[in-house]
Amino acid sequence: MEIDLLFKIAGIGIIVAVLHQILSKAGREDQAMMVTLAGVVIVLTVVIKEISSLFSAVRTVFNL
């Protein structure tokens, strides 16, 4: 389950980097910024979900 999460995040990172380059070369700086922000938001939702599951696991194991 974790491996494909890693692939997803790396894929999003590469796509955002490539799109940012293309859009900035094409002179549309604002859209490039939009793409970067969208990438950050998507990746953050995935990462936060994973971190919250980690915290709940630790809480149940160590009964914090």
Binding site: M1, E2, I3, L5, L6, I9, A10, I12, G13, I14, V16, A17, G39, V40, V43, L44, V46, V47, E50, I51, S53, L54, F55, A57, V58, R59, T60, V61, F62, N63, L64
Partner: protein, 128 residues
Amino acid sequence: MEIIKIIALGLVATIFIMMLKQYRPEYAIYVSLLAGAGIVLLVMDKLAGIINILSSLSNKANINSGFLGILLKITGIAFLTEFATSICKDSGEIAIANKIELGGKVIIIGMSIPIITALLELIIKILP
């Protein structure tokens, strides 16, 4: 066979981080966070089994279960603070890592006060 999954996850994450570092450095932090969480979740159930065995043994040896609970909480807090500080240090934020460590130490000391008081009372009782 569990170890192979852990090694694979760690290596794949390291490769992705090296790749992403040139273009998007912030994604490197996301990938390292995810890899760390994934590896810990992999070993979490084994850890739960070990902790159950320890607590049952301590019940047999009728050690005060309150102290064992506090010890477990302290290890949990220590583990979480170490997890956060290593992520901060990786991304170069040594100051934030030290602040998190300070917070963790203060909380751990705060929780271990009952144990310290019990120890002191025991010592006072023993002394003539």
